[in-house]
Each structure stands twice: as structure tokens, then as C-alpha cells.
Symmetry: C2
Subunit: 251 residues, 2 copies
Amino acid sequence: MGSSCIIKHFEYYSPLSDGDKELLDSLEKAPRAVRKNESVWQQGSPTEHFYTVSKGWVYAYRNMEDGTRQVLDLFVPGDIVGLREFAFRKRISGLNALTDAEICPFPKKRMVDVFSQSLLLSNIFFMIASRDQSILLERLVNLGRRSAKAKLAHFLVEISQRLAKTNVDISNHYKIPLSQGLLADALGLSAVHVNRTFHELKEEGLINPGHGGIELLDLEGLKKVAGFDPCYLDEDIDGMLGEVRSRYVAS
Amino acid sequence: MGSSCIIKHFEYYSPLSDGDKELLDSLEKAPRAVRKNESVWQQGSPTEHFYTVSKGWVYAYRNMEDGTRQVLDLFVPGDIVGLREFAFRKRISGLNALTDAEICPFPKKRMVDVFSQSLLLSNIFFMIASRDQSILLERLVNLGRRSAKAKLAHFLVEISQRLAKTNVDISNHYKIPLSQGLLADALGLSAVHVNRTFHELKEEGLINPGHGGIELLDLEGLKKVAGFDPCYLDEDIDGMLGEVRSRYVAS
DNA sequence: TCGACGACATAACATAGGTTAAACCACGAT
DNA sequence: ATCGTGGTTTAACCTATGTTATGTCGTCGA
């Protein structure tokens, strides 16, 4: 046992029993390394697995008929990817590696085992799905009703918050490995306009863009221009799992 | 027992055992009637229940600091609303009635009972969450990378498809009860521009807008201008639940 | 029957952001 | 060292969509 990707992730939510750990461990298959820009899966391919990201960054996207594309979501180490497609036979979006990465596959079919064998794990999976939705919702607000500048600031702040939860140290010249083109596709902008807007944010001392990554210089400043409200990332872990845990004791 | 909102909805996915039905029935509280424009809940209020919509339409929205708002999702009879907030203590979006409506509350806490007592119901809930995400994803594409005209067409087609699943007869002069202002807030447009674009779509014989509702005249035409691909609404119900059902037999 | 209100319609004008194009820069492969 | 490729930068120009304003229409409550 030991080095399972997903166990570490789940222990963020709750301590797990040995039984739970064994179950998760039995699900996990050998990790798969993917190269930068390599495709993990494509739109339309069958959905046999979901994955945890153990190293590196990946992103989900959708190619449009007119050659343009929409980046739908970004995943950092610790995130679970592909749970969305649980109900679908085919992938509704593609998944690419943004950097060199490592992902751990789980057979989708064995989710049934989780549901039937562990109440705690079922709840955690459901929490994760709920959190994912909440992130998507905020992304909708971002695309629908914010200016380019606020979009960028908001997106960057969100990523920094998500990284913080996985214990990445943002503050110290950490470079977010996003190209301006990718940001454009994520936010419904053109790459040129992302560049223009970056220029502004740089002038104001908020970020330091450059080859190979964006550095966040003033998180509070960014939050202000974004109108950032962190509530959509604050799960009520204890409230949700407290009852479940007490049942474990009872039974 | 008998007239439970949610049982009918779940039977769309799978036949239920008597035990499952009893469980669902025991969860459901007395239906609540809401008036057109009445608020069901507001941003920040505690998340004690989720609901099934049994009659009428409701929508989730988010008010922005600058007075503008984003409509996040629309729910028609049969939809489940509030599952998103499963992991959160407070609602991250408001919910209003679009028309007079009737909703059936379920205490969120009792989801634990579902998970612990019924494998089939657990799976169905998870499928619904997955489908919800898939709809949000498509909305993201819509907001990020489509023209105003395509946005409107796509949104209208999606709604018609969702209605079709609940056996509403679209074809016969059915009027979708959406105002232009609400559509604007859903699609990140201004009400004026929605009006302009409706004018075009009307010229082309695709829709018939008017007081109190939009009539869809040419669904195929709308699909074409929207670039509509229905795959994101096609769950693989049998594939997902087949295994679960076979376990029921086995045990 | 009146008034008030909300949705719809249309016009004139303003602008955020798109498009195209051309340099430039860094870096990995040969 | 050199080339090619992908990311960045900047500039000039363009257009889809926003804004403001004003008027009409239908409906509902008093």
C-alpha cells in the first residue's frame, strides 16, 4: 500500500479507516506519466477511467467547429479529473497535459464498490463533485459578467487559492505555468487582448508575466480588481462528514 | 405513499424497488408552492434542503456588486435543484421562481441515509450530479466562444431538449416563459442586444418571440445556427446502472 | 377606468475587445 | 551554432455588442 495518490487527497477531507484505504488502494492502477502537451483523452473517446493528478497540471478543453476552442477547466496536483463524465459513455471534452504530469487511473466501473462498501468515501466523492460544480458556477459568472481585467485577475486568484490548499508555496516567485493563449481560451478572450490586459496588471504591480509562467506579486490587489469572494471554495467539510463519522462509531 | 415528486423523476433512470421508494418517500417533505418572482432562497442563506421541481420553472442567479447579475441555471419540472450546494454551508447562488411553481424539499442531512441504504439511489444521485456538470460545461462553451445569435439559439434548443425529456409537448405553440431580460442575464448579453438578435431569428422564421413567451418554430434551423451537438445531454443510463442492478439480483 | 409597472421595441452613439499582421524572443532539436 | 517553433509584444484598424434614451404595448391592481 502506501503511496496512493488518492488516499492523500481524501485524507484532506477526513481521516480514513484502514478498510477505506485498502479499498482506494485496490482501485488505483499504475500511475501514468504524460508529457507536456500530450493528450490524455479526446472528445468522444470512451470513459473508462477517471484520474487523480499527482504531479503537474492538466486542462480540459473543447474544440469548436470554427477552429476556436474553449478551455473548460484546469487541474492541479491533488485534483480529480473525469468524475464529470461518470454518467456518460463518451468524453464530452478533451484533456491535455499543460506540463509534464503524472496521473493515476481508476476504473470508473469500480465506483460501485466504493458506494457499496464505504459510506464515508461515498460522501467524500459527492463533496468533490459538489465542489467541482461550484467552481464551474463561478467560472460562469466570470465569463458572463466580468471585464477582461477582472476575468484574468479572478482566474489567477482562484488558481492561487486552489494551489494553496495543496500546500504549494505561491509567494516565493512561484510561476504559474499558463500561456497567454491558454488563458485567452479559458476566459473567452483573444490572446492579443490578454496580452494588453497583462500589460495593465503589470503596470499596477499586480503580476509579473513572462516566458514560461506568471508570477503573482500582489494577491490582495488582484482580489480587489477581481471582486473575489472565496466562499465558493470553502466547503463545509466537518458539517457534512461529522454525521457520517459518528455513524462509524455507532456501528 | 404514491405521489412523490422525486420517485417519478428517479424512475426515469431505473425501476425502483419498494424499499427504494419507501426511502425516497420518507425523505420528502410537504410540497411548497412559490409565486412567480418569489425568492426560494438567497445567496448566503443556510443550505438545509434540496428540492425537486414538480411544477413551474425556477432559476438560479448571482447578483454582482455592480448591480448586474448572472443567471446560472434554469430548472424545469422534474429537475433537482440545490444538490450543488451539498458540500457547502451557505448557498452560493440565489434561487427564484420564474413562474408560479411547486417544489418538494428534502433535508440535505438525510442524504447519508440514501448513501447507506441504497446503492441504486446513490448511483442515480451521482448520475444526476454528473449530468448537471455536463450542462454547466456546455453553458461555459456557450458563454465563452459563441456569438450572441448562436448563444441564444443554443440555449433555446437546450431547453427544448430538456423539456422533451419530461414529456412536455414543445411543438404545439408551446411558449417558453423566458423574458428577454432574463435571457440576457443568462447569456452575458444586454437586454437590448437580445432584442436585436431575436429580431433576426424571427426574420429567419426560427422563433416567434412575444409577450409572455418564446415559441420555437424551427428546431432544426435553430440547431444549425447553434452548432448544437446533443451528446452532452445523453447519459449512458443502462451502462451505468446495469451493473448496479445485477448486484441487486445477486445479493 | 385609470394609473403604474414591466416587458418589448428601436434608434443613436460609444467602446471593449476582436482581427490581422509583423517583429521579436527563448529554447529545444538537429 | 543554427534553425524552427511556440510564446510574447505592439500597432492599426474593425465590429459585435453595450449604453442611454425614449416610446409603445399589455396587464394587473385599485
